[in-house]
Protein backbone atom coordinates (compact mmCIF):
# COMPACT_ATOMS: atom_id res chain seq x y z
CA UNK A 1 0.00 0.00 0.00
CA UNK A 2 1.54 3.22 -1.06
CA UNK A 3 -0.93 5.65 0.49
CA UNK A 4 -2.89 5.83 3.69
CA UNK A 5 -6.68 6.02 3.95
CA UNK A 6 -6.66 9.67 4.97
CA UNK A 7 -7.59 12.69 2.84
CA UNK A 8 -9.32 13.13 -0.49
CA UNK A 9 -8.16 11.40 -3.64
CA UNK A 10 -5.84 14.30 -4.38
CA UNK A 11 -4.24 14.61 -0.96
CA UNK A 12 -4.07 10.92 -0.10
CA UNK A 13 -0.52 10.48 -1.37
CA UNK A 14 0.70 13.79 0.04
CA UNK A 15 -0.41 13.39 3.64
CA UNK A 16 2.15 10.74 4.70
CA UNK A 17 4.96 12.81 3.19
CA UNK A 18 3.71 15.97 4.90
CA UNK A 19 3.62 14.04 8.15
CA UNK A 20 7.31 13.18 8.01
CA UNK A 21 8.42 16.46 6.43
CA UNK A 22 9.18 18.58 9.53
CA UNK A 23 10.93 15.93 11.64
CA UNK A 24 12.55 14.57 8.49
CA UNK A 25 14.00 17.94 7.47
CA UNK A 26 15.08 18.60 11.06
CA UNK A 27 16.85 15.27 11.14
CA UNK A 28 18.53 15.90 7.78
CA UNK A 29 19.73 19.33 8.95
CA UNK A 30 20.78 18.60 12.52
CA UNK A 31 21.32 14.85 12.52
CA UNK A 32 22.47 13.47 9.18
CA UNK A 33 24.26 16.53 7.75
CA UNK A 34 26.56 17.15 10.77
CA UNK A 35 27.50 13.46 10.85
CA UNK A 36 28.43 13.41 7.18
CA UNK A 37 30.09 16.83 7.30
CA UNK A 38 32.52 15.49 9.89
CA UNK A 39 34.14 13.55 7.04
CA UNK A 40 34.48 16.73 4.98
CA UNK A 41 35.79 18.96 7.77
CA UNK A 42 38.38 16.33 8.68
CA UNK A 43 40.18 17.30 5.42
CA UNK A 44 40.35 21.00 6.35
CA UNK A 45 42.00 23.47 8.67
CA UNK A 46 39.38 25.74 10.16
CA UNK A 47 39.03 27.73 13.38
CA UNK A 48 35.35 28.62 13.07
CA UNK A 49 36.09 32.17 14.16
CA UNK A 50 34.30 34.82 12.11
CA UNK A 51 36.40 36.04 9.20
CA UNK A 52 38.89 33.20 9.22
CA UNK A 53 39.26 31.12 6.07
CA UNK A 54 38.52 27.45 5.69
CA UNK A 55 41.60 25.80 4.19
CA UNK A 56 41.07 22.55 2.39
CA UNK A 57 44.30 20.68 3.02
CA UNK A 58 43.60 17.12 2.00
CA UNK A 59 45.00 14.57 4.37
CA UNK A 60 46.96 17.12 6.45
CA UNK A 61 45.20 16.28 9.74
CA UNK A 62 45.61 12.57 9.16
CA UNK A 63 49.31 12.93 8.33
CA UNK A 64 49.78 15.09 11.42
CA UNK A 65 48.09 12.42 13.52
CA UNK A 66 50.58 9.83 12.33
CA UNK A 67 53.71 11.99 12.27
CA UNK A 68 54.20 15.14 14.37
CA UNK A 69 51.29 14.51 16.73
CA UNK A 70 51.45 10.74 16.70
CA UNK A 71 52.57 10.59 20.36
CA UNK A 72 49.41 12.36 21.56
CA UNK A 73 47.11 10.39 19.26
CA UNK A 74 48.75 7.12 20.22
CA UNK A 75 48.47 7.92 23.91
CA UNK A 76 44.80 8.83 23.69
CA UNK A 77 44.15 5.66 21.67
CA UNK A 78 45.75 3.61 24.44
CA UNK A 79 43.81 5.46 27.15
CA UNK A 80 40.58 4.88 25.21
CA UNK A 81 41.24 1.16 24.86
CA UNK A 82 42.13 0.75 28.55
CA UNK A 83 39.02 2.71 29.47
CA UNK A 84 36.68 0.73 27.21
CA UNK A 85 38.04 -2.71 28.12
CA UNK A 86 38.30 -1.95 31.84
CA UNK A 87 34.86 -0.39 32.17
CA UNK A 88 33.17 -3.05 30.03
CA UNK A 89 34.67 -5.99 31.94
CA UNK A 90 34.36 -4.58 35.46
CA UNK A 91 30.92 -3.06 34.98
CA UNK A 92 29.59 -6.36 33.68
CA UNK A 93 31.16 -8.32 36.52
CA UNK A 94 29.69 -5.84 39.00
CA UNK A 95 26.32 -5.81 37.23
CA UNK A 96 26.10 -9.61 37.14
CA UNK A 97 27.17 -9.95 40.77
CA UNK A 98 24.63 -7.38 41.87
CA UNK A 99 21.93 -9.03 39.76
CA UNK A 100 22.56 -12.46 41.36
CA UNK A 101 22.45 -10.90 44.81
CA UNK A 102 19.49 -8.59 44.32
CA UNK A 103 17.15 -10.64 42.14
CA UNK A 104 14.85 -11.35 45.09
CA UNK A 105 11.23 -10.48 45.74
CA UNK A 106 10.35 -8.16 48.58
CA UNK A 107 10.08 -4.48 49.25
CA UNK A 108 13.55 -4.04 50.73
CA UNK A 109 15.16 -5.40 47.55
CA UNK A 110 13.08 -3.00 45.46
CA UNK A 111 14.55 -0.14 47.48
CA UNK A 112 18.11 -1.50 47.16
CA UNK A 113 17.77 -1.88 43.40
CA UNK A 114 16.47 1.68 43.13
CA UNK A 115 19.40 3.01 45.17
CA UNK A 116 21.94 1.18 43.02
CA UNK A 117 20.23 2.39 39.84
CA UNK A 118 20.06 5.98 41.08
CA UNK A 119 23.53 7.47 40.31
CA UNK A 120 23.00 7.49 36.55
CA UNK A 121 19.99 9.80 36.70
CA UNK A 122 22.24 12.66 37.79
CA UNK A 123 24.17 14.94 35.49
CA UNK A 124 27.90 14.32 35.13
CA UNK A 125 28.29 17.80 36.62
CA UNK A 126 26.67 16.52 39.84
CA UNK A 127 28.57 13.22 39.89
CA UNK A 128 31.80 15.09 39.18
CA UNK A 129 31.24 17.37 42.18
CA UNK A 130 30.44 14.42 44.45
CA UNK A 131 33.68 12.61 43.62
CA UNK A 132 35.85 15.70 43.51
CA UNK A 133 34.68 16.28 47.09
CA UNK A 134 35.31 12.72 48.23
CA UNK A 135 38.65 12.48 46.43
CA UNK A 136 39.88 15.93 47.48
CA UNK A 137 43.55 15.34 48.38
CA UNK A 138 43.41 17.66 51.41
CA UNK A 139 39.94 17.49 52.91
CA UNK A 140 38.29 14.39 51.42
CA UNK A 141 37.50 11.19 53.31
CA UNK A 142 39.44 9.21 50.71
CA UNK A 143 42.60 11.09 51.71
CA UNK A 144 42.02 10.22 55.37
CA UNK A 145 41.51 6.56 54.51
CA UNK A 146 44.59 6.50 52.26
CA UNK A 147 46.70 8.03 55.00
CA UNK A 148 45.49 5.44 57.50
CA UNK A 149 46.15 2.58 55.10
CA UNK A 150 49.45 3.54 53.49
CA UNK A 151 50.76 6.30 55.74
CA UNK A 152 51.34 8.55 52.72
CA UNK A 153 49.43 11.14 50.71
CA UNK A 154 48.26 11.09 47.09
CA UNK A 155 46.62 13.53 44.71
CA UNK A 156 44.01 10.99 43.53
CA UNK A 157 42.49 12.59 40.39
CA UNK A 158 45.67 14.66 40.11
CA UNK A 159 47.93 11.60 40.12
CA UNK A 160 48.88 10.15 36.74
CA UNK A 161 48.82 6.54 37.93
CA UNK A 162 45.52 6.80 39.84
CA UNK A 163 43.43 9.22 37.77
CA UNK A 164 42.43 6.81 34.98
CA UNK A 165 41.41 3.89 37.26
CA UNK A 166 39.49 6.32 39.47
CA UNK A 167 37.58 7.83 36.54
CA UNK A 168 36.78 4.30 35.37
CA UNK A 169 35.49 3.42 38.84
CA UNK A 170 33.24 6.50 38.88
CA UNK A 171 31.91 5.51 35.46
CA UNK A 172 31.18 2.00 36.78
CA UNK A 173 29.60 3.42 39.94
CA UNK A 174 27.31 5.50 37.78
CA UNK A 175 26.13 2.77 35.42
CA UNK A 176 26.52 -0.56 37.26
CA UNK A 177 22.84 -0.32 38.23
CA UNK A 178 21.81 -0.31 34.60
CA UNK A 179 23.86 -3.43 33.84
CA UNK A 180 22.38 -5.02 36.95
CA UNK A 181 18.83 -4.39 35.74
CA UNK A 182 19.51 -5.90 32.31
CA UNK A 183 20.99 -9.00 33.94
CA UNK A 184 18.01 -9.22 36.29
CA UNK A 185 15.67 -9.07 33.30
CA UNK A 186 17.71 -11.91 31.80
CA UNK A 187 17.58 -13.96 35.00
CA UNK A 188 13.81 -13.57 35.15
CA UNK A 189 13.55 -15.01 31.66
CA UNK A 190 15.17 -18.30 32.69
CA UNK A 191 12.41 -20.84 33.35
CA UNK A 192 12.41 -22.38 36.86
CA UNK A 193 12.02 -26.03 35.68
CA UNK A 194 15.51 -25.88 34.13
CA UNK A 195 16.97 -25.42 37.60
CA UNK A 196 14.83 -28.19 38.99
CA UNK A 197 16.09 -30.53 36.27
CA UNK A 198 19.67 -29.52 37.01
CA UNK A 199 19.15 -30.15 40.73
CA UNK A 200 17.69 -33.60 39.95
CA UNK A 201 20.82 -34.36 37.96
CA UNK A 202 22.83 -33.55 41.07
CA UNK A 203 24.20 -30.20 39.94
CA UNK A 204 25.39 -28.07 42.82
CA UNK A 205 25.14 -24.34 43.12
CA UNK A 206 28.26 -23.56 41.09
CA UNK A 207 27.58 -26.08 38.34
CA UNK A 208 24.00 -24.83 38.02
CA UNK A 209 25.38 -21.34 37.48
CA UNK A 210 27.99 -22.54 34.98
CA UNK A 211 25.74 -24.82 32.95
CA UNK A 212 22.31 -23.21 33.33
CA UNK A 213 22.42 -19.56 34.36
CA UNK A 214 25.44 -18.40 32.37
CA UNK A 215 24.46 -19.92 28.98
CA UNK A 216 20.82 -18.91 29.30
CA UNK A 217 21.90 -15.41 30.24
CA UNK A 218 23.68 -14.99 26.89
CA UNK A 219 21.15 -12.55 25.33
CA UNK A 220 21.40 -10.27 28.37
CA UNK A 221 25.19 -10.50 28.26
CA UNK A 222 25.19 -9.54 24.59
CA UNK A 223 23.05 -6.46 25.19
CA UNK A 224 25.02 -5.50 28.27
CA UNK A 225 28.52 -5.91 26.88
CA UNK A 226 27.63 -4.10 23.68
CA UNK A 227 25.89 -1.17 25.39
CA UNK A 228 28.63 -0.80 28.03
CA UNK A 229 31.41 -0.83 25.45
CA UNK A 230 29.67 1.68 23.19
CA UNK A 231 28.82 3.89 26.17
CA UNK A 232 32.38 3.81 27.52
CA UNK A 233 33.76 4.56 24.07
CA UNK A 234 31.58 7.63 23.71
CA UNK A 235 31.98 8.90 27.25
CA UNK A 236 33.92 12.10 27.69
CA UNK A 237 31.66 14.47 29.60
CA UNK A 238 32.35 12.62 32.86
CA UNK A 239 36.10 12.63 32.24
CA UNK A 240 35.98 16.32 31.37
CA UNK A 241 34.33 17.10 34.70
CA UNK A 242 36.59 14.87 36.81
CA UNK A 243 40.06 15.53 35.40
CA UNK A 244 39.66 17.79 32.38
CA UNK A 245 41.53 15.09 30.47
CA UNK A 246 44.73 15.66 32.46
CA UNK A 247 46.87 13.08 34.25
CA UNK A 248 46.61 10.38 31.60
CA UNK A 249 42.84 10.39 31.14
CA UNK A 250 42.55 11.95 27.68
CA UNK A 251 40.45 9.55 25.65
CA UNK A 252 39.94 10.10 21.92
CA UNK A 253 36.53 11.64 22.57
CA UNK A 254 37.93 14.11 25.06
CA UNK A 255 40.90 14.87 22.79
CA UNK A 256 38.40 15.67 20.04
CA UNK A 257 36.38 17.93 22.33
CA UNK A 258 39.48 19.70 23.61
CA UNK A 259 40.97 20.26 20.15
CA UNK A 260 37.76 21.79 18.86
CA UNK A 261 36.36 23.64 21.88
CA UNK A 262 39.26 23.91 24.33
CA UNK A 263 40.56 27.30 23.23
CA UNK A 264 42.58 26.29 20.17
CA UNK A 265 39.50 25.96 17.94
CA UNK A 266 41.09 23.35 15.71
CA UNK A 267 37.83 22.24 14.17
CA UNK A 268 39.45 20.38 11.27
CA UNK A 269 41.84 18.46 13.49
CA UNK A 270 38.99 17.71 15.89
CA UNK A 271 36.88 16.36 13.03
CA UNK A 272 39.74 14.05 12.08
CA UNK A 273 39.79 12.76 15.67
CA UNK A 274 36.01 12.25 15.50
CA UNK A 275 36.65 10.15 12.38
CA UNK A 276 39.24 8.04 14.24
CA UNK A 277 36.74 7.62 17.04
CA UNK A 278 34.12 6.55 14.50
CA UNK A 279 36.44 3.96 12.95
CA UNK A 280 37.31 2.62 16.39
CA UNK A 281 33.60 2.40 17.30
CA UNK A 282 32.89 0.58 14.07
CA UNK A 283 35.74 -1.89 14.64
CA UNK A 284 34.94 -2.59 18.30
CA UNK A 285 31.17 -2.60 17.84
CA UNK A 286 31.34 -4.86 14.79
CA UNK A 287 33.71 -7.32 16.43
CA UNK A 288 31.62 -7.42 19.60
CA UNK A 289 28.32 -8.00 17.81
CA UNK A 290 29.83 -10.71 15.62
CA UNK A 291 31.49 -12.65 18.46
CA UNK A 292 28.65 -12.19 20.96
CA UNK A 293 26.02 -13.36 18.51
CA UNK A 294 28.10 -16.38 17.54
CA UNK A 295 28.61 -17.17 21.20
CA UNK A 296 24.84 -17.01 21.79
CA UNK A 297 24.29 -19.63 19.10
CA UNK A 298 27.05 -21.91 20.36
CA UNK A 299 25.93 -21.86 23.97
Amino acid sequence: MAAGPFGTRRTRRLIPWASIAIPGIGWLLFGLYPSLATVGYSFTQYSGLPGTPLNVCGLCNYTAAFTSLSAQVWESLQVTLVYVVGVTVLQNVAGLGLALLLNRPGRSYTVYRALIFMPQIFSVAVVGAVFALILDPFTGPAATAWKALFGSTTAFLGDSSLALPLVMLVNIWMFAGYSMLIYIAGLRNIPKPVYEAAALDGAGRWRAFLHVTWPLLAPATTVNVFLTAMGALGEYALILVLTGGNFGTKTLGLYMFESAFGGNSQLGYGSMLAMLQFLLTLAIGGTLLFTLRRREIQL
Binding site: F6, L29, P34, A260, A274
Partner: protein
Amino acid sequence: MRTNPLRAGTRNLLCFGIAALLFAAPLVYLFLQAFKTFTGFLQDPTGLPHPWTLENFGAAWTQGDFGRQMLNSLVYAVVPDTVTLILGVFLAFPVSRGYFRRSNAVYAFFVFSGFLPGGLIPLFIEAQALGLYNSMPGYLILTSLSGAGFFFFVGYIKGIPREIDEAAALDGCGYVRFIFTIIIPQMKPALATFAIFGFVHAWNNLILPLVMLSDQKLWPVTRGLYSFFGEHTQNWPLIAAGTFIVAAPILLLFVALQRHLVEGVAGGAAFGTQGVAVPAEPGEAR
Protein backbone atom coordinates in the same frame (compact mmCIF):
# COMPACT_ATOMS: atom_id res chain seq x y z
CA MET B 1 15.17 -26.00 43.68
CA ARG B 2 18.34 -24.03 44.03
CA THR B 3 20.04 -24.31 47.35
CA ASN B 4 20.54 -20.95 48.97
CA PRO B 5 24.09 -20.40 50.21
CA LEU B 6 23.21 -17.19 52.01
CA ARG B 7 20.62 -17.09 54.73
CA ALA B 8 17.88 -14.63 53.87
CA GLY B 9 18.86 -12.28 56.68
CA THR B 10 22.56 -12.26 55.79
CA ARG B 11 21.79 -11.60 52.15
CA ASN B 12 19.44 -8.78 53.00
CA LEU B 13 22.06 -7.20 55.23
CA LEU B 14 24.76 -7.56 52.58
CA CYS B 15 22.55 -5.99 49.93
CA PHE B 16 21.63 -3.19 52.29
CA GLY B 17 25.33 -2.58 52.92
CA ILE B 18 26.13 -2.42 49.21
CA ALA B 19 23.20 -0.17 48.36
CA ALA B 20 23.69 2.15 51.32
CA LEU B 21 27.46 2.34 51.68
CA LEU B 22 28.62 2.04 48.07
CA PHE B 23 25.83 3.72 46.17
CA ALA B 24 23.92 6.09 48.45
CA ALA B 25 26.66 7.19 50.85
CA PRO B 26 28.61 9.40 48.40
CA LEU B 27 25.49 11.45 47.72
CA VAL B 28 24.54 11.62 51.40
CA TYR B 29 28.08 12.69 52.25
CA LEU B 30 27.87 15.57 49.77
CA PHE B 31 24.48 16.56 51.15
CA LEU B 32 25.85 16.70 54.69
CA GLN B 33 28.70 19.03 53.70
CA ALA B 34 26.14 21.59 52.58
CA PHE B 35 25.12 22.14 56.21
CA LYS B 36 28.60 23.11 57.39
CA THR B 37 29.96 26.60 57.82
CA PHE B 38 33.20 27.12 55.87
CA THR B 39 35.27 27.32 59.08
CA GLY B 40 33.38 24.34 60.49
CA PHE B 41 34.30 22.42 57.36
CA LEU B 42 37.99 23.37 57.60
CA GLN B 43 38.13 22.32 61.24
CA ASP B 44 36.53 18.95 60.64
CA PRO B 45 36.24 18.21 56.90
CA THR B 46 35.02 14.63 57.15
CA GLY B 47 32.88 14.70 60.29
CA LEU B 48 29.29 15.68 60.87
CA PRO B 49 28.39 19.37 60.56
CA HIS B 50 29.12 21.40 63.65
CA PRO B 51 27.50 23.88 63.89
CA TRP B 52 24.68 23.17 61.42
CA THR B 53 23.73 25.99 59.05
CA LEU B 54 21.34 26.56 56.16
CA GLU B 55 23.17 29.61 54.83
CA ASN B 56 24.97 27.78 52.01
CA PHE B 57 21.76 27.05 50.15
CA GLY B 58 20.79 30.72 50.05
CA ALA B 59 24.33 31.80 49.20
CA ALA B 60 24.67 29.25 46.41
CA TRP B 61 21.25 30.15 45.03
CA THR B 62 22.12 33.85 44.69
CA GLN B 63 25.83 33.59 43.83
CA GLY B 64 25.32 30.85 41.28
CA ASP B 65 22.31 32.54 39.67
CA PHE B 66 20.60 29.16 39.97
CA GLY B 67 17.10 30.68 39.91
CA ARG B 68 17.45 31.88 36.34
CA GLN B 69 19.37 28.79 35.31
CA MET B 70 16.73 26.49 36.77
CA LEU B 71 14.16 28.22 34.60
CA ASN B 72 16.44 27.89 31.55
CA SER B 73 16.93 24.20 32.28
CA LEU B 74 13.20 23.72 32.56
CA VAL B 75 12.66 25.37 29.16
CA TYR B 76 15.52 23.39 27.58
CA ALA B 77 14.09 20.15 28.93
CA VAL B 78 10.32 20.60 28.51
CA VAL B 79 10.13 22.22 25.05
CA PRO B 80 12.37 19.77 23.14
CA ASP B 81 10.89 16.85 25.06
CA THR B 82 7.33 17.77 24.04
CA VAL B 83 8.12 18.75 20.45
CA THR B 84 10.31 15.70 19.92
CA LEU B 85 7.61 13.34 21.13
CA ILE B 86 4.93 14.82 18.87
CA LEU B 87 7.21 15.00 15.82
CA GLY B 88 8.45 11.50 16.59
CA VAL B 89 4.88 10.19 16.38
CA PHE B 90 4.23 12.04 13.10
CA LEU B 91 7.43 10.56 11.71
CA ALA B 92 6.90 7.06 13.03
CA PHE B 93 3.23 6.60 12.14
CA PRO B 94 3.37 6.61 8.32
CA VAL B 95 6.69 4.73 8.35
CA SER B 96 5.30 2.07 10.65
CA ARG B 97 2.16 1.70 8.51
CA GLY B 98 4.02 1.76 5.22
CA TYR B 99 1.83 4.64 4.02
CA PHE B 100 4.31 5.90 1.47
CA ARG B 101 6.52 4.28 -1.06
CA ARG B 102 9.88 3.01 0.17
CA SER B 103 9.00 3.51 3.82
CA ASN B 104 11.07 0.42 4.61
CA ALA B 105 14.06 2.01 2.91
CA VAL B 106 13.53 5.21 4.92
CA TYR B 107 13.42 3.17 8.10
CA ALA B 108 16.58 1.24 7.23
CA PHE B 109 18.33 4.50 6.41
CA PHE B 110 17.41 5.96 9.80
CA VAL B 111 18.78 2.89 11.57
CA PHE B 112 21.96 3.01 9.53
CA SER B 113 22.50 6.72 10.22
CA GLY B 114 22.83 5.96 13.92
CA PHE B 115 26.23 4.45 13.16
CA LEU B 116 27.67 7.49 11.42
CA PRO B 117 30.45 9.64 12.96
CA GLY B 118 29.59 12.08 15.73
CA GLY B 119 28.69 15.46 14.30
CA LEU B 120 29.27 17.83 17.19
CA ILE B 121 31.85 19.99 15.37
CA PRO B 122 29.87 20.50 12.13
CA LEU B 123 26.76 21.14 14.22
CA PHE B 124 28.63 23.94 15.97
CA ILE B 125 29.73 25.44 12.63
CA GLU B 126 26.21 25.06 11.25
CA ALA B 127 24.63 26.67 14.32
CA GLN B 128 26.90 29.70 13.89
CA ALA B 129 26.09 29.96 10.20
CA LEU B 130 22.33 29.73 10.78
CA GLY B 131 22.34 32.14 13.72
CA LEU B 132 21.33 29.43 16.16
CA TYR B 133 24.53 29.74 18.21
CA ASN B 134 24.28 31.34 21.66
CA SER B 135 20.52 31.90 21.53
CA MET B 136 17.69 30.28 23.41
CA PRO B 137 15.41 29.78 20.39
CA GLY B 138 18.40 28.49 18.45
CA TYR B 139 19.24 25.97 21.13
CA LEU B 140 15.62 24.87 21.29
CA ILE B 141 15.48 24.40 17.50
CA LEU B 142 18.67 22.32 17.57
CA THR B 143 17.41 20.04 20.31
CA SER B 144 13.75 19.80 19.23
CA LEU B 145 14.04 18.75 15.62
CA SER B 146 15.94 15.53 16.08
CA GLY B 147 12.96 13.16 15.84
CA ALA B 148 14.31 11.06 18.71
CA GLY B 149 12.15 8.25 19.96
CA PHE B 150 11.38 7.34 16.40
CA PHE B 151 12.57 3.71 16.42
CA PHE B 152 10.88 3.05 19.68
CA PHE B 153 7.59 4.40 18.33
CA VAL B 154 7.67 2.55 15.02
CA GLY B 155 7.60 -0.77 16.82
CA TYR B 156 4.94 0.39 19.24
CA ILE B 157 2.59 1.68 16.55
CA LYS B 158 2.74 -1.71 14.79
CA GLY B 159 0.86 -3.04 17.81
CA ILE B 160 -2.06 -0.65 17.23
CA PRO B 161 -4.53 -2.30 14.83
CA ARG B 162 -4.52 -0.84 11.33
CA GLU B 163 -8.29 -1.21 10.97
CA ILE B 164 -8.93 1.84 13.14
CA ASP B 165 -7.12 4.00 10.57
CA GLU B 166 -9.56 3.00 7.87
CA ALA B 167 -12.58 3.23 10.16
CA ALA B 168 -11.61 6.71 11.28
CA ALA B 169 -10.89 7.86 7.71
CA LEU B 170 -14.26 6.52 6.54
CA ASP B 171 -15.92 8.51 9.29
CA GLY B 172 -14.20 11.62 7.90
CA CYS B 173 -11.61 12.02 10.62
CA GLY B 174 -8.74 14.22 9.45
CA TYR B 175 -5.13 13.03 9.68
CA VAL B 176 -3.87 15.47 12.31
CA ARG B 177 -6.96 14.97 14.43
CA PHE B 178 -6.56 11.20 14.12
CA ILE B 179 -2.95 11.34 15.36
CA PHE B 180 -3.79 13.55 18.32
CA THR B 181 -7.07 11.98 19.42
CA ILE B 182 -6.58 8.30 18.54
CA ILE B 183 -2.90 7.39 18.12
CA ILE B 184 -1.29 9.51 20.83
CA PRO B 185 -3.70 8.38 23.59
CA GLN B 186 -3.05 4.76 22.54
CA MET B 187 0.68 5.31 22.95
CA LYS B 188 0.56 6.70 26.48
CA PRO B 189 2.85 4.12 28.15
CA ALA B 190 5.53 4.44 25.47
CA LEU B 191 5.27 8.21 25.43
CA ALA B 192 5.45 8.46 29.21
CA THR B 193 8.61 6.35 29.40
CA PHE B 194 10.21 8.32 26.65
CA ALA B 195 9.14 11.67 28.09
CA ILE B 196 10.74 10.86 31.44
CA PHE B 197 14.05 9.65 30.03
CA GLY B 198 14.09 12.51 27.53
CA PHE B 199 13.50 15.06 30.27
CA VAL B 200 16.26 13.65 32.48
CA HIS B 201 18.65 13.45 29.54
CA ALA B 202 17.98 17.04 28.47
CA TRP B 203 18.19 18.37 32.03
CA ASN B 204 21.53 16.64 32.60
CA ASN B 205 23.17 17.55 29.32
CA LEU B 206 26.44 19.39 29.81
CA ILE B 207 28.32 19.10 26.51
CA LEU B 208 25.80 20.77 24.21
CA PRO B 209 25.35 23.85 26.44
CA LEU B 210 29.14 24.06 26.78
CA VAL B 211 29.45 24.18 23.00
CA MET B 212 26.36 26.14 22.00
CA LEU B 213 25.75 28.70 24.75
CA SER B 214 28.48 31.19 25.66
CA ASP B 215 26.26 33.81 27.33
CA GLN B 216 25.94 33.12 31.04
CA LYS B 217 22.31 34.31 31.06
CA LEU B 218 21.38 31.45 28.74
CA TRP B 219 23.05 28.66 30.68
CA PRO B 220 21.15 25.71 32.02
CA VAL B 221 21.83 24.74 35.58
CA THR B 222 24.32 21.96 34.77
CA ARG B 223 26.49 24.39 32.81
CA GLY B 224 26.18 26.84 35.68
CA LEU B 225 27.25 24.25 38.23
CA TYR B 226 30.29 23.36 36.13
CA SER B 227 31.52 26.96 36.31
CA PHE B 228 30.36 27.47 39.90
CA PHE B 229 32.49 24.51 40.81
CA GLY B 230 35.57 26.10 39.23
CA GLU B 231 34.94 29.51 40.84
CA HIS B 232 34.58 28.27 44.41
CA THR B 233 37.28 25.59 44.58
CA GLN B 234 37.80 24.36 48.14
CA ASN B 235 34.66 26.05 49.50
CA TRP B 236 33.05 22.64 49.66
CA PRO B 237 29.99 23.53 51.74
CA LEU B 238 28.98 26.12 49.13
CA ILE B 239 29.68 23.74 46.20
CA ALA B 240 27.78 20.96 47.96
CA ALA B 241 24.76 23.22 48.41
CA GLY B 242 24.90 24.25 44.74
CA THR B 243 25.23 20.65 43.61
CA PHE B 244 22.29 19.64 45.74
CA ILE B 245 20.15 22.42 44.25
CA VAL B 246 20.98 21.16 40.75
CA ALA B 247 20.31 17.51 41.64
CA ALA B 248 17.14 18.05 43.69
CA PRO B 249 14.55 18.24 40.86
CA ILE B 250 15.90 15.06 39.25
CA LEU B 251 16.03 13.36 42.64
CA LEU B 252 12.39 14.27 43.31
CA LEU B 253 11.39 13.00 39.87
CA PHE B 254 13.26 9.76 40.55
CA VAL B 255 11.65 9.23 43.95
CA ALA B 256 8.20 9.82 42.46
CA LEU B 257 8.69 7.58 39.42
CA GLN B 258 11.27 5.16 40.81
CA ARG B 259 9.13 2.07 40.54
CA HIS B 260 8.12 2.83 36.97
CA LEU B 261 11.70 3.51 35.86
CA VAL B 262 13.58 0.77 37.66
CA GLU B 263 11.13 -2.09 37.35
CA GLY B 264 10.41 -1.03 33.78
CA VAL B 265 14.04 -1.71 32.84
CA ALA B 266 14.25 -4.84 35.02
CA GLY B 267 11.03 -6.17 33.50
CA GLY B 268 12.71 -6.36 30.11
CA ALA B 269 11.87 -2.98 28.66
CA ALA B 270 15.52 -2.63 27.76
CA PHE B 271 15.55 -5.47 25.27
CA GLY B 272 15.36 -4.41 21.70
CA THR B 273 15.29 -0.74 22.58
CA GLN B 274 18.01 1.64 23.54
CA GLY B 275 16.84 1.60 27.12
CA VAL B 276 18.25 4.42 29.15
CA ALA B 277 20.75 5.38 26.54
CA VAL B 278 17.87 7.19 24.91
CA PRO B 279 17.60 10.09 22.63
CA ALA B 280 21.09 11.14 21.78
CA GLU B 281 21.03 14.84 21.09
CA PRO B 282 21.94 15.72 17.55
CA GLY B 283 25.67 15.76 17.07
CA GLU B 284 26.44 14.17 20.36
CA ALA B 285 29.13 11.56 20.28
CA ARG B 286 27.11 8.84 21.93
